[in-house]
């Protein structure tokens, strides 16, 4: 029997050494700091954008920002209305989504419900490869290949236009949407499909009335992701849609998006801290808020339509 005063030699031998405890703790702290750095990044983004925007709004009233119909910060008589940039962003994004959402969804349904496993094995990596092509190359396609083709159909089309940028952007987003939607549909349990088939439904009916609704939250997530990609896409629109802010809803016109404006300003040499310098941060903040709103809508849509099985 060991006395109470003398330390227990057995537990002593098995209890970890102090150095080991310290090392383990230090490693845990370092790993935590690394993980926390991503939160710090988010705060840094918000801090920088808000700080520069506050400086901007001290000079430019909010009313002008939201109602003025011209965005000409680099002119001698600057006007600061965000509407032209917003209209450019919306038109190009809508064109892209009109292409990407229906095509991407049909492709996803086909891949998940109809395609043979072998075909899927070929197509899936191809989709990943297409998603990896740098956007500057898509911009090149839009300006130098797609626009000339469109000009043959519609001769009045200017060299820079939102239509061609939007179409190519849709082609770029389609693999993203179909890939994520397919993942969502594939994770729907097989019993649901079997049950539907047992009641006499064809594959298409099963796909549209059973699998698609069951996977809707994942599918919505892919749409939202595609939308934020379209809204935040920069190089395609900067190359093919032009850099001229233009308040128009006509897709055959040239118009700058929020992102294209940031590129245009960055290409020049602006003095640090000037009002023009601050405008790109305001544009960036608008962009972040836009994607944030989209994500929140998507989150609630996904929740609202989620089918629990």
């Amino acid at each position: 029997m060991f006395s109470k005063n003398s330390p227990n030699p057995r537990t002593d031998a098995f209890s970890p050494k102090l150095s080991r405890v310290v090392r383990e703790g230090a490693i845990a702290i370092v790993l935590f700091l690394a993980a926390f750095s991503s939160v710090a990044t988010t705060f840094a983004i918000l801090e920088i954008l808000v700080q520069e925007s506050v400086g901007f709004f001290q000079k430019v009233p909010l009313v002008e920002f939201f109602t003025a119909t011209e965005w000409t910060p680099l002119f001698a008589e600057p006007r600061y209305g965000i509407l032209p940039l917003l209209s450019g962003t919306l038109v190009t994004s809508v064109i892209a989504l009109v292409v990407a959402i229906p095509l991407g969804t049909i492709a996803a349904i086909y891949l998940s419900e109809f395609a043979t496993p072998r075909l899927k094995e070929i197509v899936k990596p191809c989709l990943e490869l297409l998603a990896a092509i740098p956007t500057v190359i898509y911009g090149y396609f839009a300006l130098l290949f797609v626009t000339p083709v469109l000009q043959k159909i519609y001769p009045d089309l200017p060299g820079f236009n939102m239509l061609s940028a939007g179409l190519v952007m849709g082609l770029m987003i389609m693999p993203l949407i179909s890939s994520i939607s397919e993942d969502a549909m594939r994770s729907v349990p097989l019993e649901l499909r079997e049950g539907s088939a047992a009641t006499g439904a064809t594959r298409l009916q099963t796909a549209l009335r059973v699998v698609f609704p069951a996977a809707l939250s994942g599918v919505t997530a892919s749409y939202i992701l595609g939308t934020s990609r379209a809204v935040g896409e920069t190089m395609i629109v900067a190359i093919a849609a032009g850099l001229q802010p233009n308040l128009t809803w006509n897709p055959t016109q040239e118009a700058a998006t929020i992102t294209a404006y940031i590129v245009q300003v960055s290409l020049g040499d602006l003095p640090y801290g000037s009002l023009e310098y601050k405008t790109i941060f305001v544009a960036g903040l608008t962009l972040v808020l836009l994607t944030l709103v989209l994500n929140i809508i998507g989150h609630f849509l996904a929740k609202r339509y989620r089918e629990i099985y």
Partner: protein
Amino acid sequence: MSQAQNRQALTDFNLKELRTNIERRQLISGAFAILGLIIILVATFILLGLIFQMMTQGIPRLTPQFFLSFPSRNPEEAGILSAWVGSALVMLVTAIAAIPLGVASGIYLEEYARKGWLADLIEINVTNLAGVPSIVYGLLALGLFVGKLNLGQSVLSAGLTLALLILPVVIVTTREALRAIPNILREAAYALGASKWQMISDHILPYSVGSILTGIIIGLSRAIGETAPVITIGALTFIAFLPDSPFKGDFPFISFEWLKAPFTVMPIQMFNWVSRPEPEFEINAAAAGTVLIFMTLSMNAIAIYLRYYFRKGIKW
């Protein structure tokens, strides 16, 4: 309803109508399948056609001289030397910054984090960061690295920016890789007296290194093609000199001057040539695009191959 009545009702029902109904529905279903296949094929072929067209324009321009010349006003003399050297250096900084940070974050979230608001906060945050438009990272870098930290419009700023940009990719793939390792391995390591870190570094990481590598390569391939954030930092489009060599003849043999050098990268060089009005530069743009697409696609192909290879190799 009695059985007799039931049978009567069935015969009354027009069997022919039922059959045509089924046939029609099967036809629609089959037509849809064909439509799906056509959409996939057409979209793929349009893209492949565009890539092919670019390559046929660009490949004749891919002479050794093109790789060894600086950009120039004269399209025939212009080359991508400063661009690919810049891309390589920026990628080096990005990899050095993003790999340890991303893998460490992934390990923390998967192996250390306890369920709670802090883990949730980090997790939601990583998801959100993945959705932030890339140009916003450029604004962050402009305000923080260039403006506040005074790192200048340099290789270092660009590398760090792209590291932040691909961090979510690295974190998410690290987590997925770790999650795929069965728990029995962890329990076995603990049973032999390993500490948590010994368990992770000696057992879990070696098994997941293949999948983690895949994620890192995909992240880097994304970084190499990113244009917008690098433009925002203020990368120049016309650079006719190379950054300082990292190797020196005299002590201490390496130098870090190149980190502070102004630079350009491949996608910016291509963007610059695309936006020139002279059509001669289009050929240069096509050539640069061919090189760029070759870089990203080969990186991705390696990643896809690695993933299949490691998936096949490991059987639990």
